[in-house]
């Protein structure tokens, strides 16, 4: 048989209807729902007297605008309506909801894997672009709009054009102090934010195989920032080991059977792709973005670029605008950029291993004077785990705020906002103008780099800190 890549295998397995001149009708195994992109979809069902076809394949949580303060009280009345609307919709349509006080509550892309809902070979959608996170398990997972949310609720299917496939092969090993976040930021800095448009990316190569599941999620999470529809990694023993024992994962003998099926999904030897890119992991250094899209980034030991050094007038102009917005100067060393706020959280970097890395840097140190630093665990489960390891104490002793789970300052829909003109070192995935609050300035970094910036008050190379050795 012709060798196939994992994207083709999963696609073919989910085909319900294929006809020339039309997109494919694809079955959707898992639909994750949150409060911001679902109210109009449920309303549409109601107006047309439709039901949720497969409530058991649908799972909801509240994350985008929930407060992360200890009492979790929503002061904002419009947010409150949105949260209550989801509660009512889930009750009415029979969908399980990890509600605000539930032990399963958290960022939708963090709890899916944590609960074992995310599994290899599944098609997974959510009204959120970072659904690509779930691809880490070898699933086709992509973000959809609200009309499509309604379509999946009603039919458990979607019309989708077959994607083009792209392989990003990462050869060699990452250096000490260089992590998954640096890897994906470096890829996007090199190839740009639309390199993946129309494609699903499979990440392969030695450096990818060596990543833990949580690190793989960080990489796949940012596929959308490279413009891709989705990103995934073929399942292997790391994937299987992670899934064992999770709530929705198969049990006992069924697990072993499933594991066999999962491993068989990995791309075949000699599988081909529409496009392949290769990079060398050993060349990657810790990354910091200086501009207003995720490709405007560089290494921590470099400088803010000169807009005139770009090769097209369009890029020059974009760089000029970005540097002006960010309040930087061309040629300025990244080291010299001081920060006002540090945010460690989001579906990119809020898992337990991220918090452990940040804690390692923060242990016994103190947040620099004048800096506000927040730690927002991705889920309630992670928060509890971190507390059982004493990480909360390390952070609190160092002067970090220790908060409840949610999206928080990643998009600042709740009270966690970066004030206008202030500068934030953030472990999230988007540095767009105003993303973290009107006029806010965002620099994307890894959790270790964020913690180091909090301690030093400016960007510092984690490879030079004693904890790196």
């Amino acid at each position: 048989m012709k060798s196939r890549n994992i994207i083709e295998k999963i696609w073919d397995q989910h085909l319900i209807h294929k006809e020339s001149g039309k997109p494919d009708l694809l079955y959707i195994d898992l639909h994750l729902v949150h409060e911001v992109t679902s109210p109009q979809a449920f309303e549409g069902l109601r107006m047309n007297h439709r039901t949720v076809r497969q409530p058991d394949r649908t799972f909801a949580t509240v994350d985008h605008n929930v407060p992360t303060s200890e009492n979790r009280e929503t002061k904002d009345s419009i947010s409150k309506i949105q949260i209550e609307t989801l509660q009512n919709n889930c009750r009415e349509f029979g969908v399980e909801l990890a509600d605000i006080y539930s032990p399963h509550q958290g960022i939708v892309h963090v709890i899916g894997p944590e609960l074992g809902l995310t599994q290899p070979g599944k098609t997974i959608v959510c009204g959120d672009s970072h659904t690509s996170t779930h691809g880490a398990f070898g699933a086709i997972a992509f973000g959809i709009g609200t009309s499509e949310v309604e379509h999946v609720l009603a039919t458990q299917t979607l019309w989708q054009k077959p994607p083009k496939t792209m392989q990003i092969k990462v050869n060699g090993k990452l250096g000490i102090g260089v992590g998954a976040k640096d890897l994906i930021l470096a890829i996007i800095a090199k190839y740009g934010i639309s390199v993946g448009t129309g494609h699903i990316i499979e990440y392969t190569g030695e450096a990818i195989r060596n990543l833990s599941m949580e690190e793989r999620m960080t990489v796949c999470n940012m596929s959308i920032e490279a413009g891709a529809r989705a990103g995934l990694i073929s399942p292997d023993q790391t994937t299987v080991a992670y899934l064992r024992g999770h709530r929705f994962a198969p049990k006992d003998a069924a697990f072993d059977q499933a594991a066999g099926r999962w491993l068989a999904l990995a791309s075949d030897e000699g599988a081909s792709y529409d496009r392949t890119i290769e990079i060398d992991a050993s060349e990657i250094r810790p990354q910091v973005t200086w501009g207003t899209n995720p490709s405007m980034g560089t290494s921590v030991d470099a400088t803010v670029p000169d807009p005139e050094s770009f090769d097209s007038e369009e890029k020059k102009q974009a760089a000029r605008k970005a540097i002006a917005y960010m309040g930087l100067k061309p040629g300025m060393p990244i080291h010299d950029i001081s920060v006002d706020v540090v945010f460690i959280g989001s579906c990119t970097n809020s898992r337990i291993s991220d918090l452990r890395q940040a804690a390692q840097v923060a242990r016994g140190k103190h947040v620099h004077e004048g800096v506000r630093a927040l730690i927002v665990p991705g889920s309630y489960t992670i928060k509890k785990q971190a507390e059982s390891e004493g990480l909360d104490k390390i952070f609190k002793d160092a002067g970090f705020e220790w908060r409840e789970a949610g999206c928080s300052m990643c998009l600042a829909m709740n009270d966690d906002v970066v004030p206008s003109g202030k500068r934030c070192a953030s472990t999230s995935n988007r540095n767009f103008e105003g993303r973290q609050g009107t006029g806010s300035r965002t620099h994307l970094v890894s959790p270790a780099m964020a913690a180091a910036a909090a301690i030093h008050g400016h960007f510092a190379d984690v490879r030079e800190l004693d904890v790196a050795r």
Binding site: I16, H17, G21, K22, P23, L25, Y27, V36, T37, P39, Q40, E43, N48, R50, H64, N65, D76, I78, S79, I81, Q82, T85, G127, D128, S129, G143, I144, G145, T146, S147, E148, E150, H151, A154, T155, Q156, T157, W159, K161, I193, S194, T197, G198, G227, R229, N293, E314, A318, L411, A412, M413, S420, R430, F432, E433, G434, R435, T438, G439
Partner: protein, 196 residues
């Protein structure tokens, strides 16, 4: 959804690449549970200053562009968040057509589902449109059936996926169409139940 056939409107050029959905509609406006009323928030941070006053230099605030219904911008329009509030805001503001050399995938789909025609056009031709629309009030006629753009000194054809074209021309309800495949969906579910 209203069918889209031919349409003539005033062109507003936004001379930027990578216009992301956070710019099209900032997140503070995503809390509503309705589909309507987002037009007032379109490009909010570009249109208004901190005190809610119009910024006179932003193009949509210039009297010449009042009543624009066709937006032209550069590469990778609509990147970022999947929020369908972006096309809702464009539509509510009065835009029926968006033209750019390339669009982010989710945004492109979201436009189609709401009866907004997103047209991919060569970068050179987009450049021409931006230039023409920057000089003067520039009216453009869009004929979806013929896949044609025409104006006094502009003529161009465009490509569109035949399926998406038909959906737009007829203004079809996609869910109702999918439901006619009920048999195939149910069969698929039965087969899956056996494997798992």
């Amino acid at each position: 959804m209203n069918p889209f056939q031919t349409f003539k409107g005033l062109v507003c050029p936004i001379d930027r690449t990578n216009v992301d959905t956070d710019q099209i509609i900032p997140k503070q406006f995503l809390k509503r549970v309705e589909r309507k009323g987002f037009g007032a928030c379109l490009f909010y941070n570009w249109r208004f200053d901190e005190n809610g006053n119009k910024k006179p230099d932003f193009i949509l605030n210039q009297p010449k562009y009042t009543g624009s219904s066709i937006l032209v911008a550069r590469d990778n329009f609509g990147c970022g968040s999947s929020r369908e509030h972006a096309p809702w805001a464009l539509q509510d503001f009065g835009f029926r057509v968006v033209i750019a050399p390339s669009f982010a995938d989710i945004f492109y789909n979201n436009c189609q589902k709401n009866g907004i025609l997103a047209i991919r056009l060569d970068a050179d031709r987009v450049d021409d449109l931006i230039r023409l629309a920057s000089q003067d009030r520039f009216m453009l006629k869009v004929d979806l059936n013929q896949q044609k753009l025409t104006a006094d000194d502009f003529n161009e054809t465009f490509d569109i996926d035949p399926y998406q074209k038909e959906m737009l021309l007829k203004g079809l309800d996609e869910i109702a169409i999918t439901m006619t495949y009920e048999h195939e969906i149910a069969d698929y579910e039965k087969r899956q139940a056996v494997i798992q």
